[in-house]
Symmetry: C2
């Protein structure tokens, strides 16, 4: 299993190896949300997303002999870049299985980091099965995107760092909002916040709400992901370990629609001057509709990998608040 201690240990290992990303305060967004927002800018992390944390931790903990045979993963994008970067930093090869509809910018970024890409279907299950076939051939180690103790502990350091940065500035948070795909960031956030009296809420696209449905049913539910601009939040189900942790700690589970996500992205750009991908704007979207009025709200801006053509098209559809 994995607990709060593991997140703290992960933070000690990762210090100086990943970016201590800034926490931003944006008065105009506070006004829109009627709340005090503390934005953890993981879009400014290595490879443009928090995923750099868990992947580096997981690759570091492989047996060196196993690691030499290379690492393998299945991912919609940011975890792929994270594993590719971690592999490169250890001088080993990386094989990545990606969805056929992966954004071109994410494919190019993985290849630029020296990884080999194989395309496989559009669901996380398609990609996982292809990764197993590669493992049979190479004997490499699979680094799963979310359902793994090291991944959870590593991703949890984003929230732990946020809590410490807010405390260092003399503040405190009531809640932390995290976007959920498979639940790595979310489970890590739960562990990081557990001892601090800070509530964690998951945020998912309405059309891909595997965590919310699972929490409501009391067991893991498999969903058929519907269309959403948040391409990083489309796993068919959350991880087993992730769900076990969420069930124990999660204070609530929220859904946001594409319009909310798109407008949060545009608002963050014009008022906060930073760029996130749609998945990275989901947690902010949940705050901008005033669900947390009067609260002190930590928000993980999980990633910023979006091409300028896609950005242009989103900005035409969704205005800032």
């Amino acid at each position: 299993m994995v607990g709060s201690d593991d997140v703290r240990e992960a933070a000690r290992f990762l210090e100086g190896k990943v970016v201590k990303t800034p926490v931003l305060r944006v008065p105009d967004l506070d006004r829109i949300a009627a709340a005090e927002l503390w934005l953890k800018a993981e879009n400014l992390q290595h490879i443009g997303a928090f995923k750099a944390r868990g992947a580096l931790l997981a690759v570091s903990r492989l047996d060196p002999k196993e690691r030499e045979r290379g690492v393998i993963t299945y991912s919609s994008g940011n975890h792929a870049q994270a594993v590719a970067l971690a592999a490169r930093s250890y001088g080993v090869s990386a094989h990545i299985t990606m969805p056929e509809d992966a954004p071109a910018i994410k494919v190019a970024a993985v290849r630029a980091l020296g990884a080999e890409v194989t395309f496989a279907g559009t669901t996380s299950e398609d990609r996982r099965l292809e990764a197993l076939r590669i493992q049979e051939r190479t004997g490499g180690a699979i680094i799963p995107p979310f359902d793994h103790p090291d991944i959870i502990a590593g991703q949890g350091t984003a929230t732990l760092e946020l809590l410490d940065q807010v405390a260092a500035g003399g503040g405190a948070l009531d809640v932390v909002l995290v976007p959920v795909g498979g639940g790595g960031l979310c489970a890590g956030a739960c562990l990081a916040a557990a001892e601090r009296g800070v509530e964690v809420y998951s945020v998912e696209p309405t059309s891909c709400d595997a965590m919310a449905q699972s929490m409501e049913k009391g067991e893991r539910v498999t969903v058929m992901p519907g269309p959403t601009i948040a391409d990083g939040l489309r796993p068919v189900q959350v991880g087993e370990l992730n769900f076990a942790i969420a069930r124990k700690y999660l204070a609530g589970w929220l859904r946001v629609d594409d319009e909310g996500i798109g407008r949060a992205l545009a608002s963050l750009l014009v008022y906060g001057k930073i760029l996130v991908e749609p998945s990275g704007a989901a947690a902010l979207a949940a705050a901008l509709d005033r669900r947390f009025a009067g609260k002190r709200v930590g928000i993980i801006l999980s990633g910023g990998n979006i091409g300028l053509a896609d950005l242009g098209s989103l900005l035409q559809r969704y205005p800032a608040h």
Copy 2:
């Protein structure tokens, strides 16, 4: 006069009152520039630009009785917001004269901060004369945008902070690149860098190169600003005090064209995940064309105030590198 001591004193006063903006490292931009770039993100400063520093210092140093009659300034935008914010923090009124072609987002931002706006022509001289007329009527204090010891000392804190942040990370810079309009940021950078053995280079649009022409002629030159997307860098001449300091310390003066500025803006957005206005991308543009290959280069990203419509139009014209 004003010296390095004044910048250090300004930094002590401003600590905790302005944002200690992050310094970003972006591997893709390093690769394009063939240099080590340290990006000082003053677009994440209060009011979205470094101008918050000098204006707050200058307003704080007014005689309290004079300050109560209100403050006045002439500005193409960001200094106006900075003075409006400083006035609000002291509970006094602000009168701003702005160019008739000021971006709507900048006008709205000034009004949102409670300032009264009067439009006057399109040059800095038009605006300065209108400010004098307002002063005759109200008896308020004029806070000039760049030609003033407190403004220079305040703006210099951006560069001092950058140098300290790089040093805290165990690094060191060879040069600092600053965009130049009237020369407040530039003169302050010269004073901040003077004792550290770091060279300062000015960067201007090719069509509005008052500093470069003045440096080449050995005296202040008045220019007729040509068209440029960098709307914040269009004064007809640099300040007198600013030029005196630049002449003593400036290591070089560079010109960049709109294509370089536009492509720097787009590249910073896609690789660095942050948004700057065109003026804020000028210094980066000077590095991305490899003028500083092999060097350790500090770059002031001076501001981020641009509307999404203008951004969309720029991104269509200028691709990322």
